[in-house]
């Protein structure tokens, strides 16, 4: 007489258990008391034994299947006996059946060995991810939530043994490193610590979100590059007059405070008055002539690059221009500058010379078509009447939009700037 054995109820709250391992297969003899199958809940494992001796006539579920309690698991009897009467009716499920959406007991494992299963931290404990209850418990206890793990159960179900093997074979993350990972640092697969442990020093520095100002700078610069045809001309001007004038200003304790950058900016304004073709805006395929020279100047602030604008600079004396630039840069640095003072420039000057830069590529600020970069003063060898002498010389880098300004007119403008600088003493009445 065939005897069917049911899934036992291993606790008050246990509704289903997992088939961990069949120790006997269909057709194998078994004696009374011998273990036929190991089952597990998320808390414990249990051996189901044969109540009588005989032959295992049928096993109704695959390894890895979740089976409701009191469902018949297997049948023991004499070979040839009919077992169909014991076969459960679509109650238990195999993982493969789960996936197909049509629970069929004893459905065969269609992918032996299993595919890597993606599991995320959040999905692990609660979702219907194909983790066995014990695997889930192991993951929680060890705070181990790998992105991918191969399940060896049917349909790729991840068993505790899979997770345990991965846990012991994968590099650990040190306490200090794991806290940094929680803070957003990226951990490599293998570290330089003991047994490949990932140490804090193996982590990349956490990413820093850029500020709003930086974001604006970034997008404007990308647009500027995308919408223009930029090129840069480099030249230099005799700076001896500039330096002499500056020295005189410095020496006079009563005069206005005017620095080299103010002087060069003033010279640029004068050059733009002479060559109005560069004091234009290029908007929607049309050239708009600037009504005045509204000169923007690049200003390094704690929040990043700002470009305050001196309106109608053509109407200002060098002292007035210098005073206005000082006023605006102080406001920019303190973060108190009004938005109106940051827009509307027709031309920009950017001075990196004070930082020792000898030549660079300033980027246009569209719809402006030109920007002048001012470089450091250096000694330059010049030939005069057969002799070589060294003069102080200031570098100039003019970026232009080739859409509007060709090379030759650009170069001619730069020559005018040079002349203004070289004759700055005559130009400025202080």
């Amino acid at each position: 007489m065939a005897v069917a054995v049911e899934m036992p109820k291993l606790g008050n709250t246990v509704e289903e258990c997992l088939i961990a391992k069949w120790l006997k297969e269909e057709g194998q003899p078994v004696s009374a008391g011998e273990t036929v199958v190991e089952i597990e809940t998320d808390k414990t494992s249990f051996e189901v034994t044969a109540p009588v001796g005989g032959t295992v006539l049928a096993t109704f579920f695959e390894q890895g299947a979740l089976v409701p309690v009191f469902t018949k698991l297997f049948v023991i009897g004499n070979p040839g006996e009919n077992v169909e009467a014991f076969r459960p009716q679509s109650k238990g499920s195999t993982p493969a059946a789960d996936a197909a959406g049509s629970p069929t007991p004893s459905a065969r494992n269609t992918s032996p060995g299993g595919q890597p299963v993606t599991a995320t931290d959040a999905s692990l404990p609660h979702s219907a991810a194909p983790f066995s209850p014990r695997a889930r418990r192991f993951a929680e206890e060890h705070n181990f939530h790998p992105r991918a793990v191969s399940g060896s159960g049917p349909g790729g179900r991840v068993l505790e043994a899979d997770l345990r093997a991965l846990y012991h074979s994968s590099p650990k993350v040190s306490g200090a490193a794991s806290r940094r990972v929680q803070d957003g640092a990226e951990a490599p697969l293998e570290g330089s610590g003991i047994g490949g442990m990932v140490l804090a020093s193996d982590l990349d520095a956490p990413e820093t979100r850029i500020s709003g100002v930086r974001e604006k700078i970034a997008s404007r610069l990308r647009e500027a590059l995308a919408s223009t045809a930029q090129y840069t001309l480099n030249s230099s001007a005799d700076a001896r007059g500039l330096l002499l004038l500056r020295a005189r200003i410095k020496a006079s304790s009563t005069g206005p405070d005017i620095n080299l950058n103010d002087l060069v900016t003033f010279c640029t304004v004068q050059a733009l008055l002479q060559v109005p073709a560069l004091n234009v805006l290029f908007l929607d395929g049309r050239i708009h002539q600037g009504r005045g020279v509204h000169i923007g100047f690049a200003c390094d602030t704690p929040r990043g690059l700002l470009v305050p604008v001196v309106r109608d600079a053509q109407a200002l004396t060098v002292a007035a221009l210098a005073a206005r630039m000082k006023e605006l840069s102080a406001q920019a640095v303190q973060g108190k500058i009004s938005a109106d003072d940051l827009t509307g420039a027709t031309f920009t000057v950017s001075n990196l010379g004070v930082l020792g830069i000898e030549s660079f590529t300033p980027l246009l600020n569209p719809p402006q078509v030109a920007i002048l970069g001012v470089n450091a003063i250096q000694l330059k060898a010049v030939r005069r009447e057969g002799k070589v002498e060294f003069i102080d010389s200031i570098g100039l880098s003019l970026t232009l939009d080739h859409q509007i300004i060709d090379g030759a007119p650009g170069a001619r403008f730069l020559k005018v700037v040079r002349e203004k600088i070289e004759n700055v003493e005559q130009l400025c009445t202080i």
Partner: protein, 447 residues
């Protein structure tokens, strides 16, 4: 053609040779003197046998405080030296056994590098795919007139003393000098220590070294800090004091323990362009020198000058040379000073953290928070200091002074090695009653 020839049979060299041998490699080890190197023959092991005897002697003297009466003990220097020699011989045989079991061929003689892969020993040439230089160090001889006179000992010759000196002057307040200072003080010698720096135990955490100075002075050792030894004449040591005054002391013996220098001469290093200075051969954390196939470990690198650091460096070099990635994590190499009381430390000192601009939290507890410490030491004093990162609480350094700390510092080393955070370390169960509980209390004190 060998897979590896190791030059030098100290704890760096012989462990590395055995490790490679056990990996199935064809290995030879060249040694010109005794296997076991400085550590076994004239360093750690002899010093610790001496210190064991001196501690027992002191404990006999203090036994009454524990309710045990003994007669007046006597210190038999000759017997102590004999015991030391016996232990050294036993351990030396052990080293031979280790090498034999690992199939390492031992070549006796002085090795000289001929090329990147060839060495010469006693007229014969040997070739190897890899050379591991582990030639160790020797006591430094500072340029002090008279330093090599007959009454001057160094950390090699001191182990031959046959009787207890009445007075000894020790030049150098580093780890070696301090251990000998404790030894001689305990056996009744009047000890004075001359240190060039303003503190003793240079390299140790400032709080630990200050406490050590306090304890040793209280024991009766006389310290002359910021002192410059000028010359030695017979039994007289002439020195300049902190404020520049000339002074002198008389002593039965003068012990030179001004540190050790790497053995980099007479090896032919310059023949093959190895990057080295008198301070040692330059190596990476993997044990590589600048020449492919030539590796170095231990004191000859001038890095940590500790036997266990040498061993680890040697293993790391062997692992890397045979394809297993490894590196020495120097931040987690513990060190111990076997003074009475002992000092043990691992990781960064407070001064190092401050200089590196690392934000840290600290906790310092007296060792007497552990009941066992009070039980073991009637008038013992000590402290445990834990330093950890201020943001995450990872343990960056543990420094302790007080007997027993050498045995639990390895726990702290594991914590530093695995960057354990102090909150997690709090979950570790420490057995009660043990001195190690002071470490637990120190960690609990980090806020």
């Amino acid at each position: 053609m060998y897979d590896l020839i190791v030059v030098g049979g100290g704890p760096g060299g012989y462990e590395a040779a055995a490790h490679a041998g056990k990996m199935g490699k064809k290995v030879a080890l060249v040694e010109k003197e005794q296997l076991g190197g400085t550590c076994l023959n004239v360093g750690c092991i002899p010093a610790k046998t001496f210190l064991r005897s001196s501690r027992l002697f002191r404990e006999c003297c203090e036994a009454a405080a524990y309710g045990v009466r003994v007669g007046a003990p006597e210190f038999d220097m000759a017997a102590v030296v004999e015991r030391k020699s016996r232990i050294v011989a036993t351990l030396g045989k052990g080293v031979q056994g280790i090498l034999k079991r690992a199939g390492v061929e031992v070549i006796r003689g002085h090795a000289h590098l001929i090329s990147r892969s060839t060495i010469e020993v006693a007229g014969s040439r040997y070739e190897a795919a890899n050379l591991l230089l582990a030639t160790g160090s020797r006591p430094a001889v500072p340029p002090i007139p008279g330093i090599q006179s007959e009454h001057t000992l160094d950390s090699n010759t001191v182990f031959g003393l046959q009787c207890v000196p009445k007075t000894i002057a020790i030049i150098g307040g580093g780890y070696i000098g301090l251990e000998f200072a404790c030894f001689f003080q305990e056996i009744g010698t009047q000890v004075s220590v001359f240190e060039m720096l303003p503190q003793i135990a240079a390299g140790a955490d400032g709080e630990i070294s200050a406490r050590m100075l306090q304890i040793l002075e209280r024991k009766g050792i006389e310290f002359h800090l910021s002192a410059k030894v000028r010359r030695i004449e017979g039994h007289t040591l002439h020195f300049a004091t902190r404020d520049g005054k000339q002074s002198s002391v008389e002593a039965d013996y003068i012990l030179n323990s001004t540190g050790r220098v790497s053995v980099v001469d007479d090896l032919g290093l310059e023949n093959i362009g190895i990057d080295f200075t008198p301070k040692g051969i330059k190596t990476s954390e993997q044990g590589k020198t600048n020449i492919p196939g030539i590796w170095a470990c231990g004191d000859v690198t001038g890095r940590r000058m500790l036997a266990h650091a040498a061993t680890r460096e040697g293993m790391v070099a062997v692992n890397n040379m045979f394809g297993r990635k490894d590196r020495v994590r120097y931040n987690a190499v513990p060190s111990v000073v076997y003074t009475h009381p002992e000092v043990a430390m691992v990781g960064r000192t407070e001064e190092e953290l401050r200089n590196a601009g690392i934000k840290y939290k600290k906790s310092v507890v007296p060792m007497a928070v552990a009941g066992r410490f009070l039980i073991e030491h009637e008038d013992g004093t000590g402290l445990v200091k834990v330093l950890c990162g201020s943001d995450f609480g990872e343990i960056l350094g543990v420094h302790a002074i007080g007997d027993g700390c050498s045995e639990f510092i390895v726990a702290a080393a594991i914590m530093v090695e695995t960057e354990m955070c102090v909150a997690d370390a709090g979950e570790i169960v420490f057995p009660h009653p043990t001195v190690s509980e002071s470490l637990k209390e120190a960690m609990a004190g980090v806020h």
